[in-house]
Amino acid sequence: MSEDTVTLLTFKAGKVTFQPPSKHLQPLPQKGKITLQKSTDEESPLLSFIWEPRGSSKNDPSVQRDELMIFPGEAEWLPVQQCKTGRVYVLKFNSSSQRSFFWMQDAPSGEILNEISENDLKIATRINTLLEDIDAEEVDISEEQSGASGDDVEMEDLPTTNSNTQQPSSLSNLLSSIVIPSGGNHSNTGTPIHDISDAITAKQMANYVNSLDTSDAKLTNLYQFLPEEIPKTKSELLRVLQSPQFLQGINSLSQTFRSAEGTNIGQLVAHELGLPYRGEGIEAFLRAIRASIQEQKEREREGHE
């Protein structure tokens, strides 16, 4: 994957974990580095945030690298103010409570070890710029200032920090965030579809219904799937399709497919809905939907002949 990526920034940093019982942020002694990469093989380039042990070979499958794909504006890189004994930063996601903590391992030149250094600030500025806009122009950080060449801060310099103000539920998820083995590729051919709305959204459904004439027989057909108490009109159908409860229904059905891995729930669904069986999972379900339309059309053609 190195062919498809451009490295935007590299600096030394170690991981910090959270110890739930004691509410301590615990820096891990392992020497590591953080790399921000841009993937170039896609139309819309994504930012990869990678932590990996230093000196490890990218092709060594036993080395665990943490990699996070980050959308523009989705995350921020912030100093942990509560930590007075080391230079700890958090990668904080705006859309979820997910966060990852790191301690800066570049030794600041002659400054106090436990205070955010000027270089840390420069790195932070650069990261936050990239998190906002992946194509932002490089400003002031040379490989030498930021990169993996300076001296290390040793572990002993960085005592454990008590940080009661943090939320354990999010902290306990800390570094459980995506661990992709080194050398793993991002090709998605094997990825099962996670949610029906990844393929077709409720909004698309509503748009489709909206485009129908009020006298369209398709509406009459759809009305029979509305709850009994709901009036059978186009506007009420649209309200249902736009309701949070309908969205939850889509999520719940998707969840049924996901949690049923290794079972034959797809067969059950196909049977219940009168669909041809095309295998398990959401993709197979969508293919079954497709096939049922074709079958129906063929039947209609035969009927006309």
Binding site: L68, N164, T191, I196, D198, G249, L253, E272, I282
Partner: protein, 307 residues
């Protein structure tokens, strides 16, 4: 879900109001408060109690009394129940308000339940709620039926990804402000408090509680348990407000109807039409495009979330 399980239900004033009405409670409703100040609480008089709910985290639920004191000896006299089942905790918090206010007409079923549990300690009361067929089945009637129950699949249990909410009741009982939290060992007294003083005093206590949390991290919400607004407005002849309240009720009713649906039939039918439309316009390529795009989105979703 199995006959003995408690399903997840949505934390919503409309759900809880219909739930207690189904249990037989008369002229009581729940209302969501958008601001935390004594004035907005006073506006809801007669106010029986409030329910504070927040996204459960280990630290947010830590056993601190926010300046109050445990009063184990009153747990026999007031209705206090230890939480036995996570999913039951909203219903349990609401019962903790209802059962402790003498003026509320509980209806025969809950009256019977109340007298049956008189003298029980918190543990036993919690057990009794968990085992009540009536309360459980009413509670469960507000959850979406699971599509395609396959007996071979273990029921899903809550994970860290789920939003687990915790519910705490604050009620003025016989001149004392009590905090009734099923995760605490006993009721917590926050000192003397008349019904009139309740809005002001409970806000003070809640501010102390909220100050413990990182505001950006913990989502919380406040529900008031108060008298049915419709009766109130109708009694004083405020038809404009009565009309608004009726509209709100109609919307609650509609939402509750939709909550009971899993929409499997409608989803499948809509997918047929939209997929057909896509194929009509763009052929096979367009359909495969949708599948590929879905995989791409799922891959990104996967990379973002934890494994």
């Amino acid at each position: 879900m199995s006959d003995s399980g408690w399903n997840t239900i949505e934390s919503d004033a409309g759900v809880f109001t219909e739930l207690i009405e189904t249990l037989g409670v008369k002229a009581v409703q729940l209302d969501e408060l958008l601001t935390l100040d004594p004035t907005s609480l006073s506006a809801l008089a007669p106010l029986y109690g409030v329910i504070f709910l927040f996204k459960w985290t280990q630290s947010a639920a830590s056993q601190t009394t926010d300046g109050g004191v445990y009063v184990p000896e009153v747990e026999h006299e007031i209705f206090f129940a230890r939480q036995k089942i996570q999913n039951a905790c909203a219903t349990q918090a609401i019962l903790s308000v209802l059962m402790n206010r003498e003026e509320i007409k509980l209806g025969s079923a809950l009256d019977e339940f109340k007298s049956f549990t008189t003298g029980f300690d918190g543990e036993l009361r919690g057990e009794t709620i968990s085992n009540s067929d009536l309360i459980r089945s009413t509670h469960n009637s507000f959850s979406r039926p699971t599509p395609f129950v396959d007996e071979s699949i273990a029921p899903r249990t809550a994970t860290d990804d789920d939003d687990l909410y915790h519910f705490i009741a604050y009620v003025p009982i016989s001149g004392t402000l009590y905090e009734l939290d099923g995760l605490q060992p006993a009721p917590i007294s926050h000192g003397p408090c008349t019904d009139d003083e309740f809005p002001e005093k409970v806000v003070e206590v809640l501010y102390r509680r909220i100050a413990r949390y990182d505001a950006s991290e913990v989502r919380f919400n406040l529900l008031a348990v108060c008298a049915d607004r419709r009766e109130l407005w109708s009694n004083i002849g405020d038809f404009e407000r009565l009309e608004r309240e009726n509209e709100k009720r109609a919307e609650w009713r509609r939402e509750n109807i939709l909550r009971r649906e899993n929409f499997v039939g409608l989803i499948a039918e809509m997918l047929k039409y939209v997929v057909d439309d896509v194929v009509e316009k763009g052929g096979d390529t367009a359909f495969e495009g949708i599948i590929d795009q879905a995989k791409e989105k799922s891959a990104q979703r996967y990379l973002q979330s934890k494994t």
